[in-house]
């Protein structure tokens, strides 16, 4: 726990840096005033709105104001929705978590058996098939996969709804779309990790004890093979977040990703900043959790 808290403290400078980068990026891409006012507005009207919103202050002053609001939990108001940006972002969070969670489940269900199988049957036709599938799954753009799934399983056959969020049925296609790329990456990782472990001396020992091969592979080997997989997967959380942006847009899934894409297009600064801040926290937290899991899985690592 002490270890966890220490690491949590270390993330504060990272978060500060992220706020700065996002703050600057949002400002170099142009101010939102022109989008907020009707096209017929005069230059004076634009200028006075700019002044009122503080865009004419020097950048350091703007950043400082932004930061001091932020520590009070105030991310500003959305231009578009005229409500508190942070509340808007929080409201979208459950939908994104639902999608991310379902995608991870899809990825785990696919990758663990396939990764183990292709390692056990290395260099066989089956292995070739699985490895080839993994390359394909990784190379396939997720928006394309999403559109194909919609086309064949929603539009043509009407098994699943085309878009939106509702019951479990709505979740299936987006989860497959987002989960496939992760599954492909995990399959590859599990395969190579298992291959390395299966050649170790302690696997021979396990066999010499008269254990069933399934126990040797799924317990003695897999528990060891999982250690590097967990670490590398945790570093992929950012890929997962990136994936939600695309998947949510394709499926009109009302999550954080969709909101963020819209906000960027509309230069809805407060929402962009609130959303990226939350995503950053999420990525950092998941890395911390992965680190803890790693320590739990590998008794050779000491807490210090």
């Amino acid at each position: 726990m002490k270890y966890f808290l220490q690491n949590l403290l270390k993330t504060i400078p990272v978060l500060l840096l992220i706020t700065l980068i996002v703050f600057l990026l949002v400002r170099v891409t142009g101010d939102p005033v022109s989008l907020m006012l009707p096209e017929t507005a005069t230059d004076e009207e634009r200028e006075s709105l700019r002044e009122a919103l503080g865009f004419n202050d020097p950048l350091p002053v703007q950043y400082f104001t932004y930061l001091s609001d932020l520590v009070r939990g105030d991310f500003g108001e959305s231009f578009r929705y005229n409500t508190d940006a942070f509340a808007l972002v929080l409201e979208r969070l459950p939908a994104t978590f639902e999608l991310a969670f379902a995608s991870m489940i899809v990825a785990i269900i696919i990758s663990i058996p396939l990764g183990i199988l292709s390692a056990v049957k290395r260099n066989s036709f089956l292995d070739l098939f699985i490895t080839g599938g993994a390359v394909l799954g990784k190379a396939m753009p997720s928006f394309w996969l999403g559109i194909m799934l919609i086309l064949f399983l929603a539009v043509n056959t009407q098994i699943f709804p085309v878009s939106g969020r509702g019951g479990l049925l709505y979740l299936v296609l987006p989860a497959i779309t987002l989960g496939t790329g992760i599954a492909a990456e995990m399959t590859r990782l599990i395969r190579s990790s298992m291959l390395e472990i299966l050649g170790q001396d302690f696997i021979r020992t396990a066999r010499s004890k008269g254990l069933k091969e399934a126990l040797v592979v799924n317990k003695h080997a897999f528990r060891n093979a999982l250690i590097p997989v967990v670490t590398i997967m945790a570093l992929q959380t950012s890929t997962l977040v990136g994936g939600t942006l695309i998947t949510e847009t394709v499926f009109a899934w009302p999550g954080l990703g969709q909101l963020l894409v819209q906000a960027v297009n509309l230069r809805d600064m407060a929402v962009v900043q609130a959303a990226t801040f939350l995503i950053a926290i999420f990525v950092i937290l998941s890395n911390l959790i992965a680190d803890l899991t790693y320590r739990l899985l590998d008794p050779r690592i000491k807490y210090d």
């Binding site: 170790q200 066999r207 060891n224």
Partner: protein, 320 residues
Amino acid sequence: MVEKLMNVKDLKVRFKTEDGHVSTVNGVTFNVNEGETLAIVGESGSGKSVTSLALMGILPPNGEVYEGEMTFNGKNLRTLSKKDYRALRGNEISMIFQEPMTALNPVFTIGYQIRETLIVHYKMTKEQANIRGIEMLELVGIPDAEKVMGRFPHQLSGGMRQRVMIAIALSCNPRLLIADEPTTALDVTIQAQILTLMRNLKEKSNTSIMIITHDLGVVAELADRVIVMYAGEVVEEASVFELFKNPKHPYTKGLMASIPKVHDVVDDLYSIEGTVPNPTNMPSGCKFHPRCPLADVECKRIHPDLEYVSEGHAKRCIKV
């Protein structure tokens, strides 16, 4: 009671490699009698480990027994079903390996790894297996056995890990224990302790032991009978007493001469010139002839049979 517990006849093992099939055990014949300790000696690469893995039925995926017989306690190991073979492994035949540092699974406790065998073969409950596990650790001389049950392998020294391996191997009272160079990877003082431990176990139980080593000191310490292996073949077989007193094969004599004597400086140490031939490029005739001081044209041509020179003493050489 079967006198010959393990019977190996003309055993041949090959591996599938990039250069096609490579045969590394080429017709090995020996037996291990009930209650005796048989030593298998020979330089690195002569096929000792491969022979023992073949007997255990745990050759690596690219290896196979392609000829010969292996009979254990009247059961033909070559036709045994996977399930029946599993029931023997770790139970009636068990094995300890050369590398104690890597032979135990790093992510499970010692307790888990010792209980596992007992639960599989004796259908014990976790509690029963725990009690028996602690007993076994105590038997092999591990202090604080109860605490050690909860430790992970990396928390123990090499010598302690080898003791744990021995405890696991003996936990189901095997009839045959195969020990593949159990002391080679250890410090000299620890080697002596492990040898003493094995000696005590041998004296206390009726377990047959097949000890593999390239150290004739270990042979003298433990064995009743010895077979000497060279390039995947048995080149000499004799009782320990007979072998040390009256070695026949030039290879065996070479091994004897390379035992360090107390007064020897390392530089003077005799060693047999050359190396064990590569299985892909075996010499014709007698496989030892390129390194043999007695070799002549005959030896290049004739591959000698294993012949008995006296009761229980056999050699594979036409010159002696």
